[in-house]
């Protein structure tokens, strides 16, 4: 069973975290994502966290570790849609998330991965 739905568009995986994750689910998500990146030769991952009202140090570390793991697997991860209040809180908490790529929204995240537009058939260009 998937921890979260992973939508594949070309060689990019798009994941939108819509529910609050408990810790075990977050770790399972991390494992499944790494396996999928390796098995399916994914080169970019976009994680949309715009629905999340908080990111605590545990989830922050999971996001950081996902980015580090996919990087070792030759894929780039971009975390998109972080709410300003979440960003302020993370910094105050002391979580700097060095090396984590971020973008304001999915579109900007795709641009960071070098993808200009997606057509309706779901093919990345």
């Amino acid at each position: 069973m998937n921890a979260l739905p992973l939508l594949r568009i070309g060689d990019v995986l798009l994941v939108s975290i819509q529910t609050e994750l408990h810790d075990e689910l977050a770790l399972r998500f991390q494992r499944e994502l790494a396996e999928k990146v390796a098995d399916e030769h994914i080169r970019g991952v976009i994680i949309d966290i715009s629905a999340l009202e908080i990111v605590d140090s545990f989830l922050g570390r999971v996001l950081h570790d996902i980015a580090a793991t996919t990087s070792v697997l030759a894929a780039r991860t971009v975390v998109v849609g972080m709410r300003p209040a979440v960003a302020i809180t993370l910094v105050e908490l002391g979580l700097s998330l060095h090396g984590l790529r971020t973008a304001l929204n999915v579109e900007a995240g795709l641009r960071q991965l070098g993808i200009r537009r997606l057509d309706v058939s779901g093919e990345a260009r």
């Binding site: 009202e53 908080i54 990111v55 605590d56 140090s57 545990f58 300003p84 105050e92 908490l93 979580l95």
Partner: protein, 139 residues
């Protein structure tokens, strides 16, 4: 003059309870009309401390209380466990100090998020961490 507006207690026994604590605390924050940033800090602090209670205290409970006092509201969270306690509280508050393999930001980071922070720990008996978040004085 202070008036208790709402008071709740919730057990912390599993990871699912950490999510439950966040939801309970979020309701208190919304009812007190905390600003969005303050509310985010409140819920994040609750999540960090609930995890500490579970991982370090072996489980316990949280008390959440909303109080009106001097034209402002205060939300008090007390995380109570009867676990092993903390030998060196100052050390435990240092960023990067961890005994659970985490980032070691839970206590020190939470102290920065909260308006007020108190820790009361007796080795062998348990730990109580209390944080308070205040709204601005109204009118």
């Amino acid at each position: 003059m202070s008036r208790v507006l709402a008071a709740d207690t919730m057990p912390i026994r599993s990871e699912g309870d950490i999510v439950g604590v966040r939801q309970l605390v979020r309701q208190h924050g919304a009812a007190a009309e905390l600003s969005l940033v303050e509310q985010t800090k409140l819920v994040t602090a609750a999540s960090e401390l609930a995890r500490n209670t579970l991982l370090h205290g072996g489980g316990g409970k949280v008390e959440v209380e909303s109080v009106e006092e001097d034209r402002r509201r205060t939300i008090r969270l007390s995380f109570i466990d009867s676990g092993p306690g903390i030998e060196d509280v100052e050390l435990a508050l240092t960023d990067g100090y961890t005994t659970a393999g985490g980032l070691g930001l839970g206590l020190g980071g939470t102290r920065r998020l909260a308006g007020e922070f108190e820790i009361d720990s007796v080795p062998g008996e348990g730990t109580t961490v209390t944080v308070r978040f205040h709204t601005r004085v109204r009118g």
